[in-house]
Each structure stands twice: as structure tokens, then as C-alpha cells.
């Protein structure tokens, strides 16, 4: 099926809900890896919003990106609790292991604050990371 067809299916799946925009954008980001200008225009048209309104929402939230990034993502928590458990000392090694192949994304809090440093790959979470474990995680991402 074409991308337009998939996009329209996503829009149709949520169109009857109250406040459908965020659920649509989450699904579009998940399906295409981004919410690009073309998608914004089509969503705007379907929901009777202006493109500016949709773009304003897309650009507000950290989870939405304008361009897809084919690299695997390792989300590394660098909030206070993980900092107190030494995450900052691991960042350099993680970046080195990632190189240009893996994207290391900084997030603030995965809710594993008593067992940090913590990271997330997809829906799998990892805690009590030391340098070796984090480098392993990045290499296997």
C-alpha cells in the first residue's frame, strides 16, 4: 500500500475521537519514522486545521521529528537521579561506541531512578548500567 494510503488509514482510525491530533501524530511518527511536511498538510486537511496549527504541534513535542533517521536509537537517561549514579562518566564511551551507526538520544527520566544509569532501546529498558554494559547495549542496538 502506498504511504498516502497508510497515512489516510491512520487518520481514519482516529478521526472519530475527541482530540484526535496527538494520537494520529504518534502513529504517523511510529509508522514513517517522522512527520514530514506532506503528512502535516494531509492531516491538517483531514482535521480541518491549518497547516501552521499542525506544524506548531509537531514542532512542540520532542518525540516528533521532521525527517526520519534510519539509525537505531538508544535513549540514555541523563536526569538528576542518573547523574547522581554517574551517568555522565559513561557518555563519552557510549558516544564512541555509537559512532555514526547508532543515535544516542538524551532523555530525562525513564522512571528507573533507584537503579540508574538507565537506558531504553525500543520498548526494552535497561538499568544498573556500567560502562561495559552500556557499550554492549549500544553495539547490539
Amino acid at each position: 500500500m502506498s504511504d498516502t494510503g497508510r497515512l489516510d488509514d491512520i487518520i481514519a482510525a482516529h478521526a472519530g475521537r475527541d482530540g484526535p491530533l496527538l494520537p494520529i501524530l504518534i502513529d504517523v511518527q511510529h509508522a514513517f519514522g517522522c512527520v514530514d511536511a506532506g503528512s502535516e498538510a494531509r492531516i491538517a486537511h483531514a482535521l480541518n486545521l491549518s497547516r501552521a496549527e499542525v506544524h506548531g504541534v509537531v514542532s512542540f513535542y520532542h518525540d516528533f521529528t521532521a525527517q526520519s533517521d534510519p539509525r537505531p536509537v538508544v535513549e540514555l537517561c541523563r536526569a538528576e537521579a542518573c547523574q547522581s549514579r554517574g551517568v555522565e562518566a559513561l557518555v563519552e564511551a557510549a558516544e564512541a561506541a555509537a559512532g555514526s551507526r547508532v543515535k544516542i538520544k538524551t532523555v530525562y527520566c525513564l522512571g528507573l531512578c533507584s537503579a540508574g544509569p538507565a537506558a531504553r532501546v525500543g520498548d526494552n529498558v535497561h538499568a544498573r548500567l556500567d560502562q561495559a554494559a552500556l557499550v554492549d547495549l549500544v553495539q547490539s542496538a
Binding site: G19, P23, A81, Q83, C113, S114, A115, G116, H126, R128
Partner: protein, 504 residues
């Protein structure tokens, strides 16, 4: 057959609980995935006939089954970390399978809802008010009074919204409720709906909690008949910290930018889609079923100190030896929490600072560890309880850097609607950098122009920069629309006050 009970909480999974569970299944045991007891340093914790073993790895299975394991901690319920707690909201933690309706009903589930539905909404609100329950999200507003406002508000539709956007570092109690006891939250929302006259409810969960989202979706489907005609739906966030602020959260559900709304109007009068809306935190709603059970309200009121009634699920996090969830009546001191219960730092070094209440909470010096856990006592000490998260730092922490991080975090997460927060936070980062680098501000080309009569011609001194930082914090505190800009000065000013040497 031996039954091995292992948590399926995200933290247990992150520490390898799935592999341990698979190893027990392979050894011929029946494995039950239950909620977490909250002793996080022992996860993955394996429970066999009430006796605990942890932290377990797959290689421990044979020793645990033969009774020769050195990871045995004895009867879990008798462990001092558990037996010294007073668990009301977390009464089921570790004991039930999160998505088992059978387990939930067998442990007193739905009793609160059944009793609430036999009462008039007015009597129900009165009982919640009498319990003394205050909002657990941070602001500490009395829950009963908020419900009363929504109940009395005029509107064709009303909503109950659960704020599950738990973005504060050092907090995980909401996540544990959603993953470990989701029916309790659903029951609390159904009771709230009966009290205020709402037919629909939303749970707004942050996207960083995929396991909680899955559990809630499943729990809502399973409980749909029981809570009918009330309808609940999960809405997922998209990575904006500020959406934990209630008006920003409402905008986000409506499909708008998560910008903060000016108050008034209060959400209780004009909230979601312009309708009267009760917005409550997960812990507030999860406390409701207990309060509505027979005699629950008066028990709740009898606990705690002063105007902080009932119990608080306190989250021990950061560099602490025995981290986890500790629910107890208000009034406990930080010294008891960190030294006696938490066992000091995980690194074994002395405690330097403790941040209570998330990224917007003050850093507290060990000299103040006698402070009782109480909303008013913390406010008087220029600190806040917030959501009850406690992050411990050892003496390697650089508090100047932490102050800078607070400003940087505010700059990254500001919704941009009000100036003190949007611009003040960026200026705050620059100012702290300048103070710490000890190089005076360069006068730029513009200030040197002859037209700029009032611009200082000399670079600002360090003292002037410190004064400026204080002024900036004052402006943010009193000029910001919401707690993000308004409370960021707490960590900054407390760090500056107690550890000025870290700003040199």
C-alpha cells in the same frame, strides 16, 4: 509444584527479571509475574512461599531451589524495609498479579467503588474532604474541595483526567501503581467520576512508560463492565515534560501544543474541551479506593501530622544503597529516610545533598535532615515535597553544575508561553557559566555605543553577577505562569546558598 513469584515491573525487567523467570520456568517451576515489592536494590526479587531471594540472576536458580542460596533475605513481609512501612496505596505491592481481576477482588478491590456508588455524590465528596487527602502531584491542594468545585460547576459534560505524566527525575510511584495495581487507579477514577458527575475519563501517560501504557490498556478493557457506564481512555504523551502541568496536559489531550494556560479559569470550571474537569495525580486517585472503603476516611485522617494527612509513597532514588518505594505517614524526617531506611549512599561516600521533589525541588543540605516530611514544613524551609521523590547525591556531586543543569533543563522543556521561563532560563545558564568561569562579562559592541547612556561601561563583578542571578530567580519565581519556571529557582538558589564553594 513450586511457585516462583517474580515481578514484571519495568524496573525488575530492566534488571533482568525476564531471564530469571524463564530460568525458573525451565527448572520446572510455575512462575507467577506479580507487582514489585518496591525493594529495588533486590530486584529481580524471587519469592517462593513468602521467602525472598535477590538480586537473582539465572545462575542462582539451582541454589535457590535447593535452599543453599546466599541471596536469601528471609520472609519478605518481615524485612525491615517492608515491615516498617504503612502501606495503603501500595497495600497490594508484591502480592498480586497486576492484571488479575481475581487477585484484585480477593484483596478488597472494588469495595470502595461499590460503597461509593451507594452514596450520594455530595456525601462522597464530603467523605473525601474529611479524609484530609491532598493532591499528591505536588501542589497539595485538598482533593475533596477540588471535586466539590467540579461537582457544583455547570456543564453538560464533565471529565475526570488522571495526570500520569510523571516526568520528575527521582519519581516512579505513579509508574509502579500503573504497572503493579492498575485496577486501583481505574477504581479511583470511577469513584471520582461518580462524585463529580463525569461520564468520561482520560489517563494521560508519558511516552517513556511503554509498560505502564500496555498494562493500563489491558486493565481498562478487563474492568470495562465493572466501571460501566464510566468510560476511560489512555492518552499517550509525546515527550514534553511541561505536559505534567495540568493545563498544558489538557491542551495536549485536545491535540494542541502543550502550552500552559493562564488561570483562572480553573480547570475545575473550564478544563478539557472547555468543560468542568477534575485533574488528579495517579497517587491521589489510587488513594481513593482505600479512603472510600469502610472506615477508610477516618483512618486516613488519623495518620500524618498537622495538615498533611494520611500516607505518602516516598521514592528513594539516586545514589542510595536501599532505593525503592517507601510508603509511610507524613512526618518522617530525611535522616530516618536516608540513613536508617536507605542505608546511606550506594557509593559508600558521605551524603552531600538531597533533592526532594524532582528537578524543581530544592537541594537540601545534611544540616536540614531533621525536617519532617510535611507540606508546610518544607514550604517554610524554601523547599517542596512535590511528588515525593528523593534523589541522594554523594560528595562527588558538583552543586554548581547541578544548578546549571536545573536552568538548562528548564530551557529545554519550557513551553515558551511566558517570558521569565523561556528567556530567563537561558540567561540563567549563561549567568551561572560566567560566575563559575570567573571571567567577567565582556561588554559587547552594543553596550559600548555612546547612545547606551545607562549601560554599565565596566564589566560586572562576580558579586554583581550573583546579585543578578538572585534577581533573575526572583523574577522567574514570581513572574512565571506555572511551576516549571516558577520553581526552577528552588534548586538554583538552594545550591548557591548551601554550597557557594561549588560556584567558584
Amino acid at each position: 509444584m513450586i511457585v516462583a513469584r517474580i515481578s514484571d515491573d519495568a524496573l525488575a525487567k530492566a534488571c533482568g527479571a525476564d531471564a530469571v523467570a524463564a530460568a525458573f520456568a525451565a527448572a520446572g517451576c510455575s512462575v507467577e509475574r506479580v507487582s514489585s515489592w518496591g525493594m529495588h536494590w533486590l530486584e529481580p526479587l524471587v519469592e517462593i512461599s513468602g521467602v525472598g531471594f535477590g538480586p537473582a540472576v539465572p545462575a542462582d536458580v539451582a541454589a535457590i531451589l535447593s535452599g543453599s542460596s546466599d541471596k536469601c533475605i528471609g520472609a519478605i513481609a518481615d524485612h525491615p524495609f517492608i515491615s516498617s512501612q504503612q502501606r495503603l496505596t501500595f497495600a497490594r505491592a508484591g502480592k498480586t498479579r497486576p492484571l488479575s481481576l481475581e487477585d484484585y477482588a480477593a484483596t478488597g478491590g472494588w469495595a470502595g467503588l461499590n460503597r461509593a456508588r451507594s452514596m450520594t455524590p455530595a456525601a462522597l465528596v464530603e467523605e473525601v474532604t474529611r479524609s484530609g487527602l491532598r493532591g499528591r502531584g505536588g501542589a497539595g491542594f485538598p482533593a475533596g474541595i477540588k471535586w466539590q468545585t467540579v461537582r457544583n460547576a455547570v456543564g453538560t459534560r464533565k471529565y475526570v483526567v488522571c495526570n500520569a505524566d510523571e516526568g520528575d527525575s527521582g519519581t516512579f510511584a505513579d509508574r509502579m501503581v500503573m504497572e503493579g495495581d492498575p485496577f486501583q487507579l481505574v477504581e479511583g477514577m470511577a469513584i471520582a467520576a461518580h462524585a463529580v458527575g463525569a461520564e468520561r475519563g482520560y489517563i494521560y501517560v508519558r511516552s517513556e512508560y511503554p509498560h505502564a501504557i500496555a498494562k493500563l490498556d489491558a486493565a481498562i478493557a478487563l474492568a470495562a463492565q465493572i466501571i460501566s457506564p464510566f468510560l476511560v481512555e489512555v492518552r499517550v504523551g509525546a515527550g514534553a515534560y511541561v505536559c505534567g502541568e495540568e493545563t498544558s496536559l489538557l491542551n495536549s489531550i485536545e491535540g494542541k501544543r502543550g502550552e500552559v494556560r493562564a488561570k483562572p479559569p480553573l480547570p475545575a470550571l473550564e478544563g478539557l474541551f472547555g468543560c468542568p474537569t477534575a485533574v488528579n495525580n495517579v497517587l491521589t486517585l489510587a488513594a481513593i479506593p482505600h479512603i472510600l472503603s469502610e472506615g477508610g476516611a477516618s483512618l486516613y485522617d488519623s495518620l500524618g501530622i498537622d495538615r498533611s494527612k494520611g500516607t505518602m509513597p516516598i521514592q528513594l532514588a539516586g545514589n542510595i544503597k536501599h532505593g525503592g518505594l517507601y510508603e509511610t505517614a507524613f512526618g518522617i524526617t530525611l535522616r530516618e529516610l536516608i540513613d536508617d531506611i536507605g542505608g546511606g549512599t550506594a557509593s559508600g561516600r558521605p551524603v552531600k545533598a538531597v533533592q526532594v521533589g524532582g528537578p524543581l525541588g530544592a537541594y537540601i543540605h545534611p544540616d536540614q535532615f531533621g525536617l519532617p516530611f510535611d507540606y508546610e514544613a518544607y514550604a517554610a524551609a524554601d523547599a517542596l515535597i512535590g511528588h515525593g521523590g528523593i534523589v541522594v547525591f554523594d560528595d562527588t556531586a558538583d552543586m554548581g553544575n547541578m544548578a546549571r543543569f536545573a536552568m538548562q533543563f528548564c530551557a529545554a522543556e519550557s513551553c515558551g508561553k511566558c517570558t521569565p521561563c523561556r528567556i530567563g532560563s537561558i540567561r540563567g545558564v549563561e549567568l551561572i557559566d560566567r560566575i563559575r568561569s570567573a571571567s567577567p562579562a565582556a561588554t559587547d559592541g552594543v553596550t559600548a555605543l555612546p547612545q547606551m547612556h545607562n549601560a554599565p561601561k565596566q564589566p560586572r563583578s562576580r558579586e554583581a553577577d550573583l546579585q543578578l542571578l538572585e534577581d533573575l530567580c526572583e523574577t522567574m519565581k514570581f513572574g512565571s505562569l506555572c511551576a516549571l519556571g516558577g520553581f526552577t529557582p528552588y534548586p538554583v538558589m538552594s545550591a548557591l546558598k548551601h554550597w557557594p564553594e561549588d560556584f567558584a
